[in-house]
Amino acid sequence: MQDLAFFPPTKARTHEVCGAGAYMFAFTLAAQLADPVIWVREGWDTRQVNPTGFLDFISPSALTICNTEDQTETLAVAEEALRSGAVSLVVLQLNKPIGLTEGRRLQLAARDGQTTGLAIIPEGMGSNAAETRWRCAPVFDPKDSTLQMWELIKNKSGTLGVWHARWDAASRRLFMVSPAGK
């Protein structure tokens, strides 16, 4: 039943995730990779991650937040962090679509630093340079309150797929199964 061939996505590449469950996807990925994580966001954004909320995924001390002024700075910071290899995951929040050049530069930086990059993007604003793109949405389930639907909507080196993902806080494990009837 377990289907973890697709997750975590390829190391040393940059991936994209969109949808309402993107934050959980990012933290699940952070929990799967080792410490430290750097999270690049624009300073004006009033929506912030809550350390007492993601305690079940990673320890807040492993997370470093970087506030930037605009998207250009976000990309520059992310590129530098990816290339340095000092962190295991770089999460960057984007608000505007990025061009092929920027996307490609992120890929090259990720490859040089052997670091995984994850861009949280608005729906439908993906870049062609991304290795994989995921759409994550929470699903209502009368019995469970962490259930999510993860769709792999772009994959440069493999097939697409849909899974039901559930995070078990006690064992810190991800359960990922194909939805019934698919």
Binding site: T46, R47, V49, G53, C66, N67, E80, M149
Partner: protein, 492 residues
Amino acid sequence: MLDGMQRRVVSLWFPRLASDRVLRQRPIDGPFVLTLKQRNANRIYCLNTDAARQGLRLGMPYADARAFCPDLQSHKAKPEQDQRFLSMLRRWATRYCPWVGQEDNDGLVMDITGAAHLFGGEEAMLNDMRTRLLRAGLSVQVGCADTRGAAWALAHYAEGIAPNGAALTALKSLPVAALRIEDSMSVALQRLGLRHIGDLAQAPRAPLSRRFGPDLLLRLDQALEAQPEAITPQAEPPHYAVRLTLPDPIGLVTDVMAGAERLLVQLCKKLKMQEMGVRKLCMTLRRVDQGYQQVELRLARALRDPQRILSLFERRLAEVDAGFGIDQLRLEATQVESVPVQQICHVTDGDKNSLEDLISRLGTRVGLENIQRFLPAESHIPERSFIIAAAAYSEPSDAWIRANLRPITLFPPEPIAGSGARPPERFRWRRIPLTTGRATGPERIAPEWWLDDENWRSGLRDYWQVETTQGRRLWLFYTPQNPGWFVQGEFA
């Protein structure tokens, strides 16, 4: 004391230090005073000889002084600059002997034991001091005696040299105030008829100490060498700056980096000796056309490892415009912190170091205070249950307490339509129509009355975890004292 060698002390008193300092920079003819706001009035802080001749004195209100002397010129006094000037004089005075200390705010005291013969005797040495200071535009009074107290008395009340072992003869006719005692004490002594130090030395000691306490006799004994008194020489504060001047200008980045490496090695050696680490560095590159450029580097942690700092400098140095070439590099540690030596252990902290280097490097781009980390805080208020601190100036902490389930993201409360204490069946949030599938709660959180928080003016909050049939899991709250529903966060 040194065997067979009598201790000799020189005291220098600069009666007009502050005004001399200002007049050295900009000479002014005629009466001149420095004023400082003291005891609620602008008063004379220091004055030159012309002004003193006109009848002005220290502590006189400036308005009165203007009335006495209409052509009076004045400046604002800057006591901290005077102190800096005095410490420069102290450094200069080490040309006579190595043991120089400061005396009050306007004097120096030097232990010249065994140094006088290098200048041709005490007389010649004192004359040399006087001439040099006079040439520099400073008025000075010099006293030389066996003890610090006697030298001070001579410098302030009767310039000259007290021969070896003849302190009492030299001080006999000086007023009692020359013993460095309080004004009230010297007035009281004069009322008793003890006007001169000679009178005091002959008076019986027991009644004196009963009446004036031990201080008076201590001062007398110190002046007459019955009690020792130390001179504290001040150590040079360590100076964390190095420079490199080149015979031919350079322009290539690799050359500048090589120069920077040499400077860093020197600087780090200095830092290591003092067990310090640098937090902020400033590199000044002087070009052949006399222009200069400065490159500043702020580090995420105090460091003294030249290789690590050098790699952080690389990006900034590459941006420098060399023009026709650079012929001087100067590197200064503008902010240092104490970094004690640490035991090297087999558990590597390489990851931590590389993360700190990354933070320094990103800090040069976005500012170090924009790189933050979360620290735990003791509060039930969701937005105050953590602190956001600059990563460079805080240590990570793992003292997190897992209370109730909390949302993964927080945002400022957004109102939704709803009434009653139970979550609404249907509501619209961000223009999305949502239906409540399951609601867990309430969890009541009361505002912290000891902190006045505008966002919590609406009173108590009942928090609900609402799972909508559309999938989204939201954190809603109801304010019973001020009925209304709000969304504040979203769960994973």
